[in-house]
């Protein structure tokens, strides 16, 4: 009843191929953007913007990156944390070496640096597949983190091996990093960057390059026979995926914690993002957001719930319950819907089309 496209006629190919061809979806998307751009900065407290929305956006971006590689191109990777670290350290080196460089340019360049590293570590994917490739990317994870901890040049010879974001403005005095940046400015900057990159990703996977990735994912020999070059396709997936992860890593270091040590991008970070795309849905941009929301928000909700309900539970028990409930929910969702939250959303929309008269 509410979600029915009857009566919406398309008169051009462009309209038919739009990202959101149905008017209800367009309205929904506009509403989400309105909430994100207007309601959140006005109504959201500093706590909400700084510790919930910014990590959510950063993880969404990283999950989009990994989803391009694993969900669309079918290359299993456990090196996400390392590529994020590449972006963070590149952004730090760039902003400190060239203080006049605009923060947007610095972030994009740090993504490019991560992409270059991604290409190098993507080379083995031409020979090895599946779990073996996962092990090869694991090498990237450990090597790069070791490198950033070992070589003092990356941290500008800081004694403790910690990098810290210098204050930078987008234009004039509009600071987005450092102490003078307001939570609203940080949040809106992250939101815009993530929105633009997500739109770009969505269009990429709908275009020729995305179709090539999916062909390689579904059957690489068949894809090769119909004229898709595995070298270029796989490496482009690695490059673009690492670009997204790199920008996400730079955002993490510059916009969320403000200071970062290589240990923040350890193997657990890679697993966390892998869980996001598995829970959210492999091969779905929406899934990256849903998965990030699930993994970032749920533990915080769980840790605050007993206190809000007024239950007298000790801090340690709350933490233990949080881990247990979180694990159970992951198993539950994987059993009920192995294709992730994005798939659940699609089924929900199908149901809504027939509502209130299902067959």
């Amino acid at each position: 009843m509410f979600y029915r496209e009857a009566g919406q006629f398309k008169v051009s190919y462009a309209a038919d191929q739009a990202i959101f061809p149905i008017r209800q979806d367009q309205i929904g998307m506009a509403m989400i953007l309105a909430v994100a751009y207007v309601v959140m900065p006005v109504a959201g407290s500093e706590y909400w913007l700084e510790t919930i929305m910014i990590p959510f956006l950063v993880f969404s971006l990283a999950a989009i990156g990994l989803n391009i590689l694993t969900g669309y191109a079918g290359q299993l990777s456990l090196g996400t944390g390392a590529f994020m670290a590449c972006g963070a350290f590149a952004a730090y080196k760039l902003t400190t070496a060239f203080p006049d460089l605009n923060i947007i340019v610095a972030l994009l360049l740090s993504g490019v640096a991560a992409a270059a590293v991604g290409i190098v570590f993507g080379l083995p994917s031409l020979r090895i597949k599946g779990f073996y490739l996962a092990v090869a990317t694991l090498a990237a994870q450990f090597f790069l983190i070791w490198l950033f901890a070992k070589v003092p040049w990356f941290t500008n010879y800081s004694a403790s091996g910690v990098i810290s974001a210098p204050p930078r403005a987008v234009v004039g005095e509009l600071y987005v990093t450092g102490v003078h940046a307001t939570p609203q400015a940080r949040y809106l900057f992250c939101l815009t960057l993530v929105a633009v990159l997500a739109l770009l990703a969505k269009n990429m996977v709908r275009s020729s390059i995305g179709r090539q990735w999916m062909a390689i994912r579904d059957m690489d020999i068949a894809a090769e026979i119909i004229g898709i070059r595995p070298l270029r396709t796989k490496l482009s997936a690695f490059a673009i995926s690492s670009f997204y992860c790199g920008v996400a890593g730079a955002l993490w270091a510059f916009f969320y914690t403000g200071t970062v040590e290589p240990g923040a991008f350890d193997i657990n970070r890679s697993f966390q993002i892998l869980y996001m795309i598995i829970i959210g849905g492999l091969g779905s941009i929406l899934g990256a957001f849903l998965g990030a929301g699930f993994i970032v928000l749920l533990p915080i909700v769980l840790s605050r719930l007993p206190l809000m309900l007024g239950l007298p539970i000790s801090t340690a028990t709350i933490s233990h319950i949080e881990v247990m409930v979180f694990g159970t929910l992951i198993v539950f969702f994987l059993i009920v819907e192995p294709h992730g939250l994005a798939r659940l959303w699609r089924i929900f929309k199908e149901k809504l089309r027939l509502w209130p008269f299902p067959y």
Partner: protein, 440 residues
């Protein structure tokens, strides 16, 4: 699918709950203290006694004295699991609670401290980092809201080398000797290296660094190199949590002499040596305060809290090294708040007022004694410029049952460390465009 729908609804409701700020259950006129301990995660065995000590002393002030100058203390804990991003979340969650926001924060993690330094300066909340965190924070001109009292890692590193020299019979005997430094490969473990390097250059000993990856369970290769290849005259360790007991076991396995194995104050508590069993006998560690329950304040905790069933944790932890350090943290915090109240009036204090309280803290021997801490530690005084104080440090040794002091109080060499701290602080100020305060 119906189940799924319900689950989704539940999830939405839960998320909506999160949006609504919980109704403040705290009395309006109480002094709120946000606590961020770690009672779970890889470092929980060390985090729990510390957190109990902190919580017990605040509770004792409420039960025994009716609060600080009559103002009761309310607390809320948020578990960080020693995880930096979770620590930031806890900080943001707690900083504006209560009547005046959290009085101060005690992160007990160098990583979390680094992430909070800038935020704390903007939010005007003191960070109390006793014996850890950013060493440069001792310079109050650049870091007004960071308090590294009573000692920083750099002071610790200097005392460690002084003790080694004493054992050898003088600083001139250090020349040509080999000292191994085993450290947790994180900001925490790396922090003292500049001082060790400066001292190695000054006294001519050979320093070998051995990083150990988090969480420190894999040290076989390190100890084979130390025990079989390098054979150092002394080994100094900056470890935390399970890394400490593992190191002691591995050192014993390669036959390293425990008498020449010295840990920092975070590597010298009961959870570090008891798991290693008899192997730990003779192991030494630095300490800026005494262990044990022979202090009036600890006896008060037992009398007013544990005897009445109001204790925070396991009674067996009371009087252990980390528990006592937790007590020490709370004592300093409470005295800073009391200082502030004496100046600004007996009501909940803001972070800015408590910062003043910290900067005018003068813990004389008489004051320590009046707080029930006679003989607990050496007196110290915090000023606007000096947030560290560098109190004398002692070496304690594990005899298989308890820690006993085996050295006199050793004064860190301020003439060496202070210029280094000021140089590091100035570099930080330059990077962040901070104009140092004038502390004249």
């Amino acid at each position: 699918m119906r189940v799924c729908g319900r689950v989704l609804t539940l999830a939405t409701v839960a998320a909506a709950c999160l949006l609504a700020e919980p109704a403040p259950s705290l009395a309006v006129d109480s002094q709120f203290v946000g606590l961020m301990p770690y009672r779970t995660g890889p470092y929980a065995p060390n985090g729990i006694p510390f957190a109990d000590g902190v919580a017990d002393y605040l509770q004792l002030i409420n039960v025994r004295d009716g609060g600080i100058n009559g103002v009761p203390i309310s607390t809320e804990e948020c578990d960080t699991s020693y995880n930096t991003d979770r620590g930031v979340e806890c900080y943001e969650r707690l900083k504006n609670k209560g009547a005046t926001g959290s009085a101060a924060f005690i992160p007990l993690s160098t990583g979390i401290t680094y992430a909070l330094i800038e935020r704390a300066a903007v939010d005007k909340v003191p960070l109390l980092t006793t014996g850890y965190g950013r060493t440069a924070g001792g310079d109050g001109r650049v870091f007004p809201y960071v308090f590294t009292l009573p000692d920083s890692y750099w002071s610790g590193a200097d005392v460690a080398i002084t003790y080694v020299a004493q054992q050898m019979g003088g600083f001139d005997k250090l020349k040509g000797k080999k000292i191994a430094f085993v450290y947790h490969d994180s900001p925490y473990g790396k922090e003292p290296i500049p001082v060790f390097e400066a001292l190695a250059a000054k006294y001519g000993f050979q320093l070998s660094n051995f990083p150990v990856a988090h969480p420190g369970l894999e040290q076989k290769a390190v100890w084979l190199r130390i025990g079989r290849q390098l054979r150092p005259d002394w080994t100094i360790m900056w470890g935390w949590g399970v890394m400490n007991s593992t190191a002691i076991k591995e050192a014993a396995a390669v036959g390293y002499n425990m008498e020449h194995f010295l840990g920092v104050w975070w590597s010298g508590a009961e959870p570090d040596v008891i798991p290693a069993g008899d192997a730990a006998k003779g192991y030494k560690a630095l300490a800026f305060h005494a262990p044990g329950a022979d202090f009036k304040v600890i006896q008060d905790v037992e009398k007013f809290l544990y005897a009445a069933g109001k204790g925070t944790g396991d009674k067996n932890n009371v009087g252990t090294v980390l528990y006592n350090r937790g007590i020490f943290n709370s004592v300093v915090l409470v005295e800073a708040i009391r200082n502030a109240m004496n100046k600004f009036g007996n009501k909940p204090m803001t972070g800015e007022q408590i910062q003043w309280g910290f900067e005018n803290l003068d813990m004389t021997s008489e004051k320590l004694a009046s707080l029930g801490l006679a003989g607990f530690m050496q007196p110290f005084k915090i000023t606007c410029a000096d947030h560290e104080a560098s109190v004398p440090v002692r070496v304690q040794q594990w005899d298989g049952k308890q820690w006993t002091f085996v050295s006199d109080w050793i004064q860190p060499d301020r003439s060496l460390i202070r210029p280094m701290i000021e140089a590091a602080a100035e570099q930080y100020a330059k990077e962040k465009n901070i104009t140092p305060r004038d502390c004249k």
